[in-house]
Symmetry: C2
Subunit: 487 residues, 2 copies
């Protein structure tokens, strides 16, 4: 049994397993799935459909070709040649232990055997297993194809090399492994959630607030803070210049106050279950679970991309993923330069159901930024006080693009003078058809005076060379047009 280095076996394809399958597949891995439930296949396809629309556009560059998906009829078939087993079966210790025991004879000795468990400690799962050193917890968050966090927990016998490899692979999948050094039931995030959940159950039971009011109290207030900073950094700010020690001294006494009911756990009586279920229906039953899923994904993509623009938190994870994928440096400029290669993000579409007009200019702006970078007007050059400002733009919108569609932009330099640069971008769809053109005049500026200035020699040299190469090309169709002009 030799492990293929990009093949994962996903065991159990509920909402978590299916999410893992999507995350691996859309990052170019081959995925074999085993789930004895007859409805598993349909659910897997639904999750994959959602992921295909939402995930590729989180990246600002081209994504790998999708891997091969196989659904199998046995654990043996699924795990053959896999270098990673991801277990996502129900939260029952007996069946999880049984699975690990069954895997012992099926996997190679360098295969990662990871459990998605929300609660069990890895040492409990691995107890008595001959493959104990391969067993770890990799606990993701739903939807797995969008949220970056994975809690990675080893136990005493877990091979540190396998933990390090898991860390590296998760990062290649655009995820962030949070290595938990000391195992504990429910790891870290779920303990925080469980605490809030128990308090929420009390609030409903005591008739203080309905499920909807509790959700509003989260998403209109501290939920917005927690999406980007978390608990401690938020409180650090609240503490002000005096720092965290001061904050703790000030708010410490609250621990003595009756501010939570969490000295005890409410009993989930039949009445309480009914009351929560009917409040939840009142809050959300006008939307089906599928609709809620799609709404959630659209919201998460918008929020994640907002944080990406800020290079902060989960957005910084996305940027790091793009950076690892890297961009090829064009080594010759005889033809147009490929400056953008990406998918249309969910949040770039509008009420007409297609990519909004302003996003065409955003993509052309990205193409211009990339071209600037290629000629040497990079972050360092800009930090030194030099940049280009666009002063005039002409766009032809020739065809539509939908969320998830691929697009590329090829750029020609029409003019490259010390103070002036003229670019012509051609945007093409997946099949190579022209969907838009952009023509842009940029001036080189001194960021101090905000006035035009000549480009530095290093930039000028490269720009001049490309402009000269491109002057030999046939002028592309659509140059120099005014709006509405007859062709």
């Amino acid at each position: 049994m030799i492990g293929n280095d990009r093949k994962v076996a996903v065991i159990g394809s509920g909402v978590i397993g299916a999410g893992w399958a999507a995350r691996f597949l859309l990052n170019g891995w081959d995925v074999s799935v085993f789930d004895p439930d007859p409805s598993a296949g349909k659910r897997l396809m639904r999750v994959l459909d959602n992921a295909r629309v939402a995930l590729p556009g989180l990246s600002d560059m081209s994504v790998p070709r999708e891997g091969r998906l196989t659904t199998t009829r046995s654990l043996e078939e699924a795990s053959a040649h896999a270098c990673w087993i991801q277990e996502s079966i129900p939260e029952r210790l007996d069946i999880k232990k049984k699975l690990i025991s069954d895997l012992a004879t099926l996997v190679s000795s360098d295969c990662i055997v990871a459990s998605s468990t929300s609660g069990f400690r890895p040492s409990v799962l691995a107890e008595g297993s001959p493959i104990a050193r391969q067993v770890m917890v990799c606990h993701p968050f739903n939807p797995v194809y969008l949220l970056p966090l994975v809690e990675v927990v080893g136990h005493k016998q877990t091979d540190p090399e396998l933990l390090a490899r898991a860390d590296r692979i998760l990062s290649e999948l655009g995820m962030r492994a949070l290595i938990i050094r000391k195992e504990i039931d429910a790891h870290v995030a779920d303990r925080l959630m469980e605490a809030a959940w128990r308090e929420a159950l009390w609030l409903v039971r005591d008739g203080i607030a309905t499920t909807e009011e509790i959700d509003e109290s989260i998403r209109l207030g501290f939920g917005l803070r927690w999406a980007q900073m978390g608990l401690f950094e938020t409180f650090r700010i609240a503490g002000g210049d005096a720092g965290m020690q001061h904050f703790l001294e000030q708010f410490g006494p609250c621990l003595e106050m009756p501010w939570t009911r969490l000295t005890d756990v409410p009993e989930l009586t039949e009445d309480l279950v009914k009351s929560i279920a009917s409040q939840s229906d009142a809050q959300s039953s006008h939307l089906s679970i599928r609709e809620l899923e799609r709404i959630r994904d659209g919201n998460l993509v918008a929020v994640l991309r907002a944080l990406k623009g800020r290079n902060w938190g989960a957005g910084a994870v996305l940027n790091a993923h793009d950076a690892v994928r890297g961009q090829s440096e064009p080594d010759e400029f005889a033809g147009p330069v490929r400056t953008v290669s990406r998918a249309v993000p969910l949040d770039w579409t509008d009420y007409n159901g297609h990519m909004n007009e302003a996003r065409y200019l955003q993509a052309f702006g990205d193409a211009t930024d990339r071209f600037m970078e290629i000629v040497g007007c990079d972050a360092e050059y800009i930090a030194a006080g030099n940049s280009y400002f666009t002063v005039e733009t002409h766009i032809r919108h020739i065809d539509e693009l939908l969320a998830g569609d691929s697009l590329v932009i090829d750029t020609i330099c029409l003019q490259g003078e010390p103070r002036k640069m003229k670019l012509f971008h051609r945007m093409l769809n997946e099949t190579g058809d022209l969907v838009a053109t952009g023509e842009h005049l940029l001036l080189h500026v001194d960021l101090q005076t905000r006035r035009t200035s000549p480009a530095r020699p290093r930039v000028m040299k490269k720009l001049g060379r490309i402009a000269e190469f491109h002057s030999r090309l046939d002028p592309p169709d659509g140059i120099g047009r005014a709006v509405g002009q007859r062709p």
Copy 2:
């Protein structure tokens, strides 16, 4: 004492009081502040500076003129003629009760007396006060000028009319009042936070995770979910088609499991305080509190605007606020039509420190949408399968705009035929200087076939009338230009 219907007295201008002052001021209220702390004035100005950059751009229309800010030297001076007192002094019951007692002779009988307390119940604050019927809790979330949530809690004696008025005013301030029907220590949101906070203290104390790791476990995972749905709606999705009752039956048993430490509260020993403070330093001390505040605000604006684009959660609150502000319907078309009037949002700026080029087209796109609406191509018309698609665009970027700057767009209709509409937008800054022009050719389309079609008579009639009026105007400078063409 007659209350001015748009004057608030802010008592205590710490980070919460200053946030309230900013929220009221930037929504056009007069604000008088009283805080005996000599450093209060400086802090107030810092919060106001942050708010002026961040808040106006949350709206997609023009915001009211800022109210008048007065800092006063006494409670009496501050509360004169106020119709709303907002108390945000330290969390000590004795001084809060003393303040309410002092206010009794200073406020009119229809003045709202609201406390920002995180923990105390309003009946405790109002106990024995002659103005008990005016006392309520209005508990906001930091930063008050950005987060929409306010927990509004009355007690038995609170006048329902005053509660209803508070609800209405908070909504005018762009906030969402969550009316808590049954008072309880720490209200709702802080109880959930306090539960998570106590669990987090255990995790640090037990050496499971550092403050930074706990923050990562939140903001890379469930924090992103909670920013847009909350706890119950998220779990409803996880429960799938079987509904919330099924979810509870499945996960109920976890309540018996040792998944939180919250049967007891950790003691804040000196060691634990030091350990948290030093972990927090390791995590965040490379940034000052001011820097963290600005980063947080930028992140929140980006996340809030992302949710606004989705019309969901906190974003739906922002849209509702815009809708209440309303847009004036132009009643005659002899001159250009004012189609946009707004501030530049924080997330519209780029590495050059000014509004990014794509946002010019976004603003022109909004102007086009507004013009379409004016001629009758509104949501209903689009839902019926008709719309306009932009096919060609020309932009001149003439001057820069910075975050928080005001801009307006005036639109001229250059052409209004059954299948074709040509618009010319002029973008002006606060002082009326031209900062950009946009020329756009749009085709009327059938959204079913995605091909051109003639506009319906109702739209054509209005469009034709405006085009005729505008044909009598002097043609604006810059029409019909190609990129780089000599003037």
